[in-house]
Amino acid sequence: MTLLEKLSILADGAKYDASCASCGSTRSSNKGIGANSVAGICHTWTPDGRCVSLLKILLSNDCVYNCKYCYNRLENDHQRATFLPEEIGRLTLEFYKRNYIEGLFLSSAVLKNPDYTMEQLVLSVKKLREEFLFGGYIHLKVIPGADARLVSEAGLWVDRLSVNIEMPTQSSLHWLAPQKKEITIVQSMQQMKAEILSSMEDRKRYAKAPLFAPGGQSTQMVVGASPDTDYDIIGKSNYLYKEMELRRVYYSAFIPVRQDGVLPTDPLPPLKRENRLYQADWLIRVYKFNWKELLNPVQPNLPMDVDPKTHWALAHFDWFPVEINRADFSLLIRIPGIGIQSARKIIQARSIKAIQIEDLKPLHVSTKRAKYFITVNGKSLLPNQSLYPERIREKIADTPPPSLFETGLTLHSAVSGEL
């Protein structure tokens, strides 16, 4: 098999993993080539609109597991391939030199057993650092159930580690991926959390203490393959952010591998739902919402017609309108349509002079949604009437998008073709 064929197979297998971050790490090197950047850099966009920043590949797709949702499961009949560590190193370095990528995202199917797979992964990234002297970004997947010592070694070479939790509830995981045990996933997460923290502590005392995954850890959940609700999913994410100190949780909309009744067809449009989950995720992570403000057991799913912030605002209409010349930052960012950047600009501008309606345009503050929720120096942006929340909801609601999946149901899973 040529390198070209291998690359095609093993990139195809990794493409459903949603993580694409390539920044926020602090590793520095002055020997070889490659540097980490503060802001994330995209190198291209594929025709599906997703950005490419890392060489995202599997070490192998030759899996001994048989998870129901996964393209690479044992029973699925397709071509198998495995990279040599040397090939991974060469590809990463040469791609980086030509400015195709920021670095490497390396995952794998379970080849023989978890320990053997993890050994090969660690060997590959170690080689890339030590022999190829690569200083760019590396994101490595941890194989659930692999020996803790291998995880400890992996953290020394890479910027980010992640182990995919796959399902928000134990029952779903057990049902869809019987060979994966939640306990081993949680153990790996806890171990990484502890080692990341202790490395940060050591670095405060000794500048040369070894780094352990300075870009932190992340995870991914599959959405729509199990009956779990958004309440289950976001609740789990909240737990992971708070208790495991994860940097990011990614969500991957599921497209069924085959229609044989094993997997449910999600009544909610998967991509739209994925998008809403990301919005809710940002609201708890960046906008400091409490997750229970967005979801509750009575309404366990996010609304599809409006974004979760608008939904929250309409349900708390007595908070509005907000006077943008007075509201503090934490309230400004709760206004639908006003993000972190706009809120910052508003606070800067009003420190010089009160903001008037005509200033909003030069400030590039979008009023499409915000106009229903603000006053500017005492004036409303709406011509004459006050609107009821129901009416505003109708005006803001997305027009239903044409179904993306009417034609060409793909024969493979939308889920990480890996762990």
Binding site: A14, A35, P47, S53, R98, N99, I352, Q356, G408, T410
Partner: protein, 251 residues
């Protein structure tokens, strides 16, 4: 007053120095078209070094960097905008960067932001090709703004010791990185780094295209979204250009 300069940032500095010290609110700044002193043009005898020192003593790094970015936008009459901005900064101090409502501040902020955004995009979408028989990497591109002056150090950080040439083919400016030194050269033409010396068959280009093809999720085509992030004007020098074109042809 009426001023003329070479078109270079370093040449603009003495004029800005003069305008700020004289509080010349009614200034016109043009490009110098003749070697001789033109009629009606005020000659500036201040040196570039003095001007540089004066401006850095008078204004914050943030204010000056915004002016520099805005200057690289090459927007018509941006020099006068920069002068107005500095006069205002002289009155207001560092608070000027918060004064978004003011049209001059807005102009500078907006132009600076456009330049910074193109720089950031190009750090990702520039493509290097190895030159035959050497370690040299060559990257031609046609940016909207004069961002090449911002890209040299960014790529030096990434490629460390490797020598490279960035080539703005629209303006014929090159940035050369050689033996850890960065050198900018104007009037740089094709023959200096001719296409003939680019490796004809670079196997990694083919591998990159295979990768690009493999990671595309066909069933989720969203060409509008792709083009929004990566406008057509940046496709020309992409290794994966034909794959993107094909996808857009078939729709």
């Amino acid at each position: 007053m009426h001023y003329a300069y070479s078109g270079k940032w370093s040449g603009l500095l003495p004029i800005l120095h003069h305008i700020v010290t004289k509080k010349d609110e009614d200034c016109h700044i043009d490009l110098q078209t003749s070697l001789f002193v033109q009629e009606g043009i005020s000659p500036i005898i201040l040196s570039e070094e003095d001007a540089h020192r004066f401006l850095h003593q008078t204004f914050s790094e943030e204010v000056l960097y915004k002016c520099y970015l805005a200057f690289l936008s090459e927007k018509e009459r941006i020099e006068e905008g920069i002068a107005q901005y500095l006069l205002l900064a002289g009155e207001m101090g560092t608070g000027i960067v918060n004064y978004w409502q003011h049209p001059v501040v807005n102009l500078i902020e907006y132009q600076a932001k456009k330049v910074a955004r193109e720089k950031h995009l190009l750090i990702g979408v520039l493509r290097f090709q190895p030159l035959e028989g050497s370690e040299m990497l060559y990257a031609p591109f046609e940016p909207t703004y004069r961002v090449i002056y911002l890209l040299g150090s960014a790529f030096k950080r990434r490629l460390n010791q490797l020598p490279f040439i960035l080539h703005d083919k629209k303006r014929n400016i090159a940035c050369l990185h050689w033996q850890s030194k960065l050198l900018y050269q104007e009037h740089f033409f094709e023959q200096h780094a001719s296409r003939k010396t680019i490796k004809e068959e670079d196997p990694y280009e083919e591998l990159w295209r295979a990768f690009f093809k493999a990671v595309t999720i066909e069933s989720r085509k969203n060409l509008k979204c792709e083009q929004q992030h990566l406008p057509k004007k940046y496709w020309k020098y992409l290794t994966e250009k034909n794959l993107i074109l094909d996808a857009h042809k078939t729709g």
